[in-house]
């Protein structure tokens, strides 16, 4: 016999106060007597001043102890486990989340889950069929209503532990979709737990839960972020202690495969610890929390130092101020156009026109600064006296935003199929972008006459304008498995995952997501990102 709620047996501790109440001397009962005259002559009429007495077994005590025992057992809900009769069509939902790789199984939890599934498969009734649904980051059906044990085993052999959270909601939906109505359907969930309340409510009715894994010892790197800081990279890691006793472990940071930092960290149960350090510049940053626990997968985290690729800028017109501005931006190479000569935009990422007309056939993104006659599709209607710098970025890259001298700005109206015609505040600088990459542009009437500190504000503004125009946003330095990869949705790209598998993403395809922890690569048709 086992208990469905073993914690209820803790109520047996109520026996202690019951016994204590019987050991404690009861409050003396007042007994009126004719006189204390005779009683006072007795020596030590009070047997003891101690508040307790010898335990005397009585029917009342035994009844109270019996009641406590019955209550504890009732709350613990004793159950007798018997072999569960499987349904004629049994759907095995196997958790393939990263935690199933914990090594407290044989050798890990997933192996235990597969072994349990194989064992349970033998309990299917005659003519019974089995389905297998893998509850990984991307749930999928591995086997559909198959009566063949060999096919079942083959499906199980294809299971590999994922490296992210399981999408249980999707897995449950898939499992329920396998129900045909022709046969009785039952569901068995093989998991190490970790389902949220919402996910538990989404289980198909009658799902039998078979738990795998019992250990809880786990420490890991919860988060790793990297940002360039001068001539070094600043690494910030968050370490978590999720189970087991206090531990002192070695934390290590590798940059491009070379150990750049190591220290001993003390982790306390149920807490997190932030570790920050500066490491030399590099591309690939890996953080390791060394020391054995039952879940090694989260003992390593990776991140890349987000660095933008070099940008070639063609500068036309007045070059004095804007040339210095562009030169102050790291990774920018400025090519000055010869006055009167035709523009050569070969290998040019963006063109800047300073107080000079913008050619109508410009075929690269451009920045027009106080253009005398506006820009293609943009008419100049006035100027502002005291502009201030502000950047307003729209989330939709296909629609123009604006850079306004004040916080008050107006989203331009779309005029398809014409190129977007931004109308911000009168005379305000603005950026715009159409569906064609070449249709991105910015105009600014004030960059040449502003008195804002050049070494502070304008490099930032210039950097952001160039980033916006060239579409070379810095990649996210750290991605979780399951997060979207930083691939421009409008560009075709090739994604190479950490194990070297290539996948071509056409323009307009859905954004791919990270499926494994490690260093991958994506390349657009124009440039690697």
């Amino acid at each position: 016999m086992r208990f469905a709620n073993p914690a209820g047996l803790a109520l047996a501790a109520l026996a202690i106060p019951v016994i204590v109440l019987h050991i404690l001397r009861p409050r003396r009962t007042a007994q009126s007597v004719s006189s204390l005259f005779l009683w006072r002559s007795l020596e030590r009429p009070v047997s003891s001043a101690r508040p307790w007495q010898k335990l005397r077994w009585s029917a009342l005590l035994l009844a109270q102890l019996l009641a406590v025992a019955v209550l504890a057992v009732a709350v613990a809900r004793p159950v007798r486990l018997g072999p569960a009769k499987l349904a004629a069509h049994t759907v095995f939902i196997i958790d393939a989340s990263a935690s199933m790789g914990a090594i407290d199984g044989s050798p890990d939890r997933m192996s235990d889950a597969i072994a349990q599934a194989e064992s349970l498969r033998g309990d299917l009734p005659e003519d019974g069929v089995a389905s297998v649904v893998l509850a990984g980051p991307r749930p999928r059906v591995l086997l559909t209503a198959s009566p063949d044990p060999d096919a079942f085993d083959a499906a199980l052999r294809t299971i590999d532990v994922g490296e992210g959270r399981a999408d249980f909601a999707g897995a449950f939906a898939l499992a329920e979709s396998l129900e045909t109505g022709a046969q009785e359907v039952g569901f068995i969930l093989l998991s190490d737990g970790g389902l949220t309340d919402a996910e538990q409510r989404q289980q198909p009715p009658g799902t039998v839960y078979r738990r795998v894994g019992t250990g809880e010892t786990n420490r890991g790197v919860v988060r790793l972020t990297v940002e360039p800081r001068g001539s070094s990279l600043h690494v910030r890691a968050t370490l978590g202690h999720f189970g087991g006793g206090p531990s002192t472990q070695r934390f290590r940071v590798d940059v491009d495969g070379v150990t750049a930092h190591a220290e001993q960290v003390e982790l306390k149960p149920g807490t997190t610890l932030d570790v920050e350090t500066d490491v030399p510049l590099g591309d690939r940053v890996e953080a390791f929390l060394e020391g054995g626990d039952q879940y090694p997968l989260d003992d390593r985290a990776v991140a890349v130092a987000g660095r933008r690729p070099p940008i070639d800028v063609l500068l036309a017109g007045r070059t004095t101020f804007i040339g210095e501005l562009l030169a102050a931006i790291p990774g920018v190479t400025v090519h000055v156009a010869e006055p009167g000569a035709p523009l050569d935009t070969t290998d040019i990422d963006v063109a800047v026109f300073a107080e000079t007309p913008v050619p109508a056939d410009i075929d690269v993104p451009y920045l027009a600064i106080a253009p005398p006659a506006g820009a293609p599709g943009v008419a100049v209607t006035g100027t502002v006296d005291q502009p201030a710098i502000a950047l307003v970025r729209t989330t939709d890259s296909s629609s123009p935003g604006s850079i306004s001298p004040t916080s008050e700005w107006h989203r331009p109206k779309r005029r398809r199929p014409r190129r977007s015609s931004p109308r911000g505040r009168r005379g305000a600088p603005c950026c715009f972008a159409g569906p064609d990459p070449r249709s991105r542009g910015c105009t600014s009437p004030f960059l040449a006459s502003s008195n804002l500190p050049v070494d502070v504000a304008f490099p930032l503004l210039g950097d952001r304008i160039l980033t916006e125009l060239t579409g070379t946003a810095q990649p996210t330095t750290s991605l979780e498995v399951g997060d979207s990869l930083p691939v421009p949705p409008s560009n075709a790209a090739v994604v190479i995952d950490p194990v070297g598998t290539e996948r071509t993403i056409e323009a307009g395809d859905s954004v791919p997501v990270a499926t494994r922890a490690g260093f991958g690569r994506s390349e657009s048709t124009a440039r690697p990102v």
Partner: protein, 288 residues
């Protein structure tokens, strides 16, 4: 529904023939039925004495004068009444287990016996110390009413009651104290009561619960008179010690009474009053 009378008529009829016994002759105030220590005018010859001028010459024994040629006066025994003082303890402790009721019945019986013998009865209840005098059979009803309306209250102050008794004038007579003596001052009272002269009888009224308590366990004993509390753990040994202590106390009272010439009788609250009066007390010489 009328309250039950202290003494039923049948017992009263028997008590008509009962008389208080005094160990020695006591001088009374009026003529009565008890032999007095002085000479009087009864028919019982007592003695001769020399004639002195002024003596009643009718008492001169002329026969003796003829033989001896001297004048002698014949003396006869006097029969006086008996001044009976009933001191009844009405303290709160007497309210337990019917002790006061028993005391009232005993006092009523003694008062009845006295009144039918034309003895003067003085009822003195303490506390608070109220004295009433009853004379003659006609005051029987008043005596009974007085006894029936006594209520237990206050502290046993027998010492003060003894003082009050000693301070009262009148012939020594017989003093009968009816009390449970549950007070530390009882020895002093017994020592002083005989100082007035006359005879003193202590009727010790106790309940069975006081002699042989059936209490057990951890108790807070509350004194009915003072309200004081005494925590006790009544084991078998402690109760046995209590019983021994009570017996020693009773023996001490008896010894002191004997030493001071005080007659001592003990009555339990649930004793049969007829058995006590007509048998036990007769054997003890309290009545005849």
């Amino acid at each position: 529904m009328a309250a039950e009378p202290l003494l039923d008529p049948a017992l009263l009829a028997r008590l008509e023939r009962v008389q208080l016994v005094t160990g020695r002759r006591l001088v009374g105030r009026f003529s009565g039925e008890h032999r007095s220590s002085r000479h009087g005018s009864s028919l019982d010859f007592a003695d001769y004495r020399d004639y002195h001028p002024g003596d009643d010459f009718r008492r001169i024994d002329y026969s003796l004068y003829a033989r001896t040629d001297q004048l002698f006066i014949r003396l006869f025994e006097a029969e006086d009444d008996l001044a009976v003082r009933l001191l009844v303890d009405t303290s709160a402790s007497m309210g337990f287990d019917g002790k006061l009721r028993q005391a009232a019945r005993l006092a009523a019986a003694l008062g009845f016996v006295s009144l039918v013998r034309r003895d003067a009865v003085q009822l003195y209840s303490f506390p608070p110390g109220r004295a009433d005098r009853f004379n003659g059979r006609s005051s029987l009803a008043a005596l009974m009413h007085r006894l029936e309306t006594m209520e237990p209250a206050g502290i046993t102050d027998i010492d003060r009651a003894a003082d009050a008794l000693l301070a009262r004038s009148g012939p020594p007579g017989m003093s009968i104290v009816i009390s449970d003596l549950l007070t530390p001052t009882w020895p002093a009272a017994i020592e002083r009561l005989p100082a007035r002269g006359g005879e003193v009888t202590v009727v010790h009224v106790l309940s069975n619960a006081e002699l042989d308590p059936e209490l057990a366990g951890d108790l807070d004993l509350v004194d009915a008179e003072s309200g004081d509390r005494l925590p006790v753990s009544l084991t078998h040994d402690v109760v046995a010690d209590y019983r021994a202590s009570v017996q020693a106390w009773l023996a001490d009272i008896e010894a002191r009474c004997a030493h001071r010439g005080v007659r001592y009788v003990r009555v339990e609250a649930d004793d049969d009053i007829e058995e006590v009066l007509l048998r036990s007390w007769r054997r003890a010489g309290v009545v005849r």
